[in-house]
């Protein structure tokens, strides 16, 4: 076998390299800087790295070349790193989105004012809860500054995930993105047992899901004789033997990805992890992971298995319906804000899948009609901003025991803090899809593409589930504005530093602007074009 010297397109892969390199520098800081002095350098480094990567992404995006694929399909982009990384329009858009959300994540991670001068992360993760060691770490005001390099590694994985050009890279990206998140989930300063349980659960289930993904990759390799998406696509179009292998492979790969996006029936981890993880991590994870994993799902399904869509569309019909129904119905019976948001995110996964299954070939689309890919990308944008904003507000509402996430602590919040409650209500309305918020445009986009593709039964279910979902969103608004505060004491809004409040304001402005004037972002999504092979 001949050894080919790998060629890397450093310029195009710059965002990825900046983030992963920055993460390594972060680890070095952990190793060489004294404990008390690490915090500031880590925050500055993370912020600089994310901003730098964002700038690099924009630069790469504006200089994408025309690319002609194997099947003669043209598009702007580049298949780089020997076919492992594909930098095309959707990749650039997703990268920018993930980096913007990561910036929000860094800001929320760095918040110290809410806990009275320390971060939301435990002082010493290794100390058992309730022991002398934990108390000592807490009195010394220790901080785990490792969270910043971990965040950067997770971001690196997220960037790689939707850009992967073959199944192995995708698997590696999946692991790079997941492992730091497992750790981050277990690092809460308060309610540590809950947090550790969440991390454990996430890790075990995540490991299973990775196993499924790997098995699926093996089966698909057996079918196609290639792990690259272009190669698989050719094999699928040529119609190789052993169709069963392909179907089983698609199913198993989908399990791995659907677990990451939190679709039913693989949603069991979502509420526990969302609740147990430090809220800053939940916010970052809810937005970032969903964007990255949907990007990967889109690429896998559209590029590798595009010729086989009649086989996987029915599967997504079932999963989308299950996710929407389960998420919406179970969210009604929750009594904790974080769990409610978690179940609503399951429902949103279902709505996003409605968009994914609305794929049509170019010939079926009218002139000027937008594609399902554009719909899903836009929905991800709106969803991410609303989720980060909502979770950021959850970090503000506190009582003596830390964050007050139980419903009865939120009663009457609209009277004591109308601005914060109003902002939270606005995010909820956006998630509910009320017009003049970004969520409405997103919902409209995904529903329309599914309807155009003839999936009207799914759209009708989606609309039914939207009605159900509205009940719990509106009930929470009623709780905040029209219910008297609980006699045992209500949560109050703690003043935060500019880091958290700035994040909330940015998310608020984005949600409003995308609801009223979505045109520019929609144009951006349209100009991103289609996936290349």
């Amino acid at each position: 076998m001949e050894f080919v010297k790998p060629e890397l397109e450093y310029a195009e892969l710059l965002p990825l390299l900046i983030v992963l390199g920055g993460a390594c520098v972060g680890v070095a800081i952990e190793a060489f800087v004294p404990r008390g002095l690490r915090r500031l350098p880590q925050i500055v480094l993370s912020a600089l790295v994310v901003v730098g990567a964002l700038v690099a992404t924009i630069l790469v995006g504006t200089h994408l070349d025309e690319h002609t694929g194997a099947a003669g399909a043209t598009g702007r982009g580049l298949v780089g790193a020997m076919g492992s990384i594909v930098v095309d329009g959707p990749t650039i858009y997703l990268w920018a989105l993930i980096l913007v959300f990561a910036l929000g994540g860094v800001a929320l991670f760095a918040e110290q004012r809410l806990e009275g001068g320390v971060s939301a992360f435990t002082g010493q993760a290794a100390a058992l809860p309730g022991t002398e060691g934990e108390r000592e770490a807490s009195t010394r005001g220790l901080d785990h500054t490792e969270v910043y390099p971990l965040l950067l590694f997770a971001v690196g994985g997220m960037l790689m995930f939707p850009a992967s050009g073959d199944l192995l890279t995708m698997f590696v990206a999946l692991e790079i993105l997941s492992l730091p998140l497992y750790l981050l989930c277990g690092l809460a300063r308060r309610r540590r047992l809950l947090s550790q349980e969440a991390a454990m659960k996430y890790f075990l289930l995540g490991a299973f899901a990775s196993g499924f993904f790997l098995y699926g990759a093996a089966l698909v390799y057996g079918y196609a004789g290639s792990v690259t998406f272009a190669g698989i696509n050719e094999a699928v179009r040529a119609g190789a033997d052993n169709h069963v292998l392909l179907l089983a492979g698609i199913g198993l790969l989908a399990v791995g990805l659907l677990f990451k996006v939190g679709a039913a029936p693989f949603q069991a981890w979502t509420p526990d992890v969302y609740q147990g993880a430090p809220t800053a991590v939940t916010a970052f994870m809810a937005a970032g992971t969903k964007v990255a994993a949907f990007g990967a799902l889109l690429r896998l399904m559209y590029v590798a298995f595009g010729g086989e869509r009649w086989s996987w569309q029915p599967m997504l019909w079932v999963i989308a319906i299950a996710s929407m129904v389960l998420g919406a119905v179970l969210a009604i019976v929750q009594s904790d804000v974080k769990r409610m948001l978690a179940y609503s995110s399951v429902a949103h996964t279902g709505f996003l899948l409605v968009g994914v299954l609305g794929v049509q070939s170019a010939g079926e689309l009218a002139d000027g009609q937008y594609t399902s890919l554009e719909g899903v990308l836009f929905y991800l944008t709106t969803y991410g901003f609303a989720m980060i904003g909502a979770f950021a507000i959850v970090t503000l509402v506190r009582d003596a025991g830390g964050e007050a996430t139980a419903y009865d602590r939120w009663a009457g919040l609209g009277r004591t803090s109308p601005l914060v409650a109003g902002a939270f209500a606005f995010f909820l309305l956006s998630m509910a899809g009320i017009p003049l918020t970004a969520g409405f445009i997103g919902k409209w986009a995904v529903f329309t593409s599914a309807m155009s593709a003839g999936a009207w039964p799914v759209v009708l279910v989606a609309i039914g589930c939207s009605i159900v979902a509205i009940t719990f969103y509106v009930r929470h608004i009623r709780l905040m504005f029209f219910t008297d505060p609980h006699p045992d004491g209500a949560g109050t809004v703690t003043r935060s530093s500019l880091l958290t409040s700035g994040t909330i304001v940015v998310c608020l402005v984005a949600t409003l602007a995308l609801g009223i004037l979505p045109g520019p972002v929609l144009d951006l999504v349209t100009s991103a074009g289609d996936f290349i092979r």
């Binding site: 002139d367 009320i434 003049l436 009708l460 509106v474 349209t526």
Partner: protein, 510 residues
């Protein structure tokens, strides 16, 4: 016609005013709010003055909004829209005047919030009436619910939170069903070329029979919840009972008109075939609403529930008028929308004064006020008589036109619909008798009659009711060309008269 975007000003001024009121200090908020509402009234009058009677849709504004979806920011008024715009700009300042002190009451969300939400509701409702793009219409149609929800939930009686939730759930459910149809329209429009949501483009679409009927149902259900129509009306009485009378006016007299407005503009305008196909069903529902609403209203003890349920009966008549598909019926329906707005608003506000004085909304606990407060009693009687359609007051004209078209449609439909007149007499006069007449109880001896502010808030309505009752020509002149265009779009002609004319060609109505 100049190019000044007067409709945009009309829509955006109250919305900007709402924001300003919310931010201003408390003592300035109320005056500013009323000032903005009056300024909007002036703009409404200017719009009416620059309106040309036979000009179709006018004062158009059209800008690309979301190009990818074929959505335009497009405004324009025709006869129907103009009348409802005028109704809206007239009612809002009156409501603000009537609620001047009440919205400060203990336990409510404060006058500033009331004024801000009311202005927001005004602006969004005006946008609904002026929108000539279905997507824009849908957006503002849904957005009106947010101020309405906070108005119901924040002000009024015990239990308003639950009532507001019920109201919102019903409306949002209807809105989402409508969303399905709006999406369907995009698909149909995209299949036939470039996707566009402009009403003028949609009217030219060639919608196949099957999908057309499904899309029609999405629109119709949403509007039937809004209007409301039996059996989707159950939110109405609960909401009017718990909300303040002013909110009741805004909801029943303005917001609910969107339902019947939408039936005319979208159901008949975009889906003429499906509308005609569905006529038997719609007429049946309308008849049930007419009779059932009136019967249930008779049995009410709460005056605001009673008024809410009379509106169910009235909306049944409006819907009936629309779906008889005759020009009399549709003209009558348009006039009915305006007159019902005037009459019911007067009734709500006066009933509000009444229950405020007696400290209870229950009819059985009132009585005997007539001698102590003659002005209040007199206005209550006039408003009540307008509601029952007394000749000489404007609702009579519209009711007459609708009933005439109902008889033209089928004699039994007319026969059932006409019971509304009898039943209305019962609920109105019986209510008046129980609340006003009888011996004056000692505890109400010192009750004050209406003050200047309270009279000023109702007087314009009474004047309009009387004036339009004797001289309805302005309303007819505005609505007739629009109805003519609509009937042409639907493709129906009025049935020829079965009785031969005695020579001259006088219109029977007036």
């Amino acid at each position: 016609m100049n190019d000044f975007p007067i409709l945009s000003l009309l829509v955006w001024l109250p919305i900007a005013g709402a924001v300003a009121v919310a931010l201003l200090p408390r003592h300035l908020a109320k005056v500013t709010g009323l000032g903005v509402a009056l300024a909007t009234l002036v703009i409404g009058v200017v719009v009416a003055a620059s309106y040309e009677l036979d000009g179709g849709t006018q004062l158009r504004e059209e800008h690309e909004w979301i190009e990818a979806f074929g959505v335009h920011y497009a405004l324009g008024v025709d006869g129907l829209a103009l009348l409802l715009v005028l109704l809206t700009v007239l009612l809002v300042p009156l409501v603000l005047g009537a609620e001047w002190f009440k919205s400060d009451a203990e336990g409510s969300a404060g006058a500033r919030a009331f004024f801000a939400w009311a202005l927001a509701l005004e602006g969004l409702s005006l946008a609904v009436f002026c929108a000539t793009d279905v997507f824009l219409f849908y957006v503002v149609f849904e957005a009106t619910l947010i101020p309405a929800y906070f108005l119901v939930g924040g002000f009024g009686r015990e239990g308003r939170g639950a009532a507001a939730l019920k109201f919102l759930m019903f409306q949002l459910a209807g809105g989402l069903i409508l969303l399905a149809s709006v999406i369907g329209l995009y698909v149909v429009s995209a299949q036939q070329g470039t996707p566009s949501y402009l009403l003028s483009d949609l009217q030219d679409l060639d919608i196949a029979t099957g999908p057309g009927r499904w899309l029609f149902f999405g629109f119709f259900i949403a509007f039937a919840i809004k209007a409301p129509l039996f059996p989707l009306h159950t939110w109405l009485a609960d909401t009017t009972e718990k909300a303040t009378p002013g909110t009741g006016v805004l909801l029943v007299c303005i917001l609910d008109k969107i339902g019947t407005f939408g039936m005319m503009r979208f159901c008949l305008g975009i889906f003429p075939e499906a509308s005609q196909w569905a006529t038997p069903l719609v007429v049946t529902l309308a008849l049930i609403s007419i009779v059932y609403g009136a019967l249930v209203a008779i049995g009410q003890d709460d005056v605001f529930r009673l008024i809410g349920l009379t509106s169910l009966s009235h909306f049944g008549l409006i819907t009936l008028g629309i779906f008889t598909m005759t020009s009399q019926g549709n003209t009558g329906a348009i006039l009915y929308m305006v007159n019902h707005g005037l009459g019911t608003a007067a009734l709500f506000l006066v009933a509000g004064y009444l229950s405020e004085r007696r400290g209870t909304p229950l009819i059985s606990r009132m009585g005997g006020l007539e001698k102590v407060t003659p002005v209040l009693a007199g206005l209550f009687l006039v408003a009540g008589l307008a509601t029952l359609g007394l000749p000489g007051l404007s609702p009579f004209v519209s009711e007459f036109l609708v009933l005439m078209s109902a008889f033209q449609y089928a004699w039994y439909v007319g026969a059932i619909a006409i019971t509304a007149v009898v039943l209305a007499a019962i609920y109105v006069l019986w209510m008046y008798q129980r609340t006003m007449t009888g011996p004056t109880p000692p505890e109400v001896e010192g009750t004050k009659d209406l003050g200047v502010r309270e009279i000023a808030a109702v007087a314009p309505l009474v004047v309009a009711l009387v004036f339009l009752g004797f001289y309805p020509a302005p309303l007819l002149d505005v609505s007739n060309p629009m109805v003519g265009d609509l009937m042409q779009q639907v493709g129906v002609h009025d049935p020829a008269p079965t009785v031969e004319h005695a020579g001259n060609e006088t219109e029977e109505a007036h």
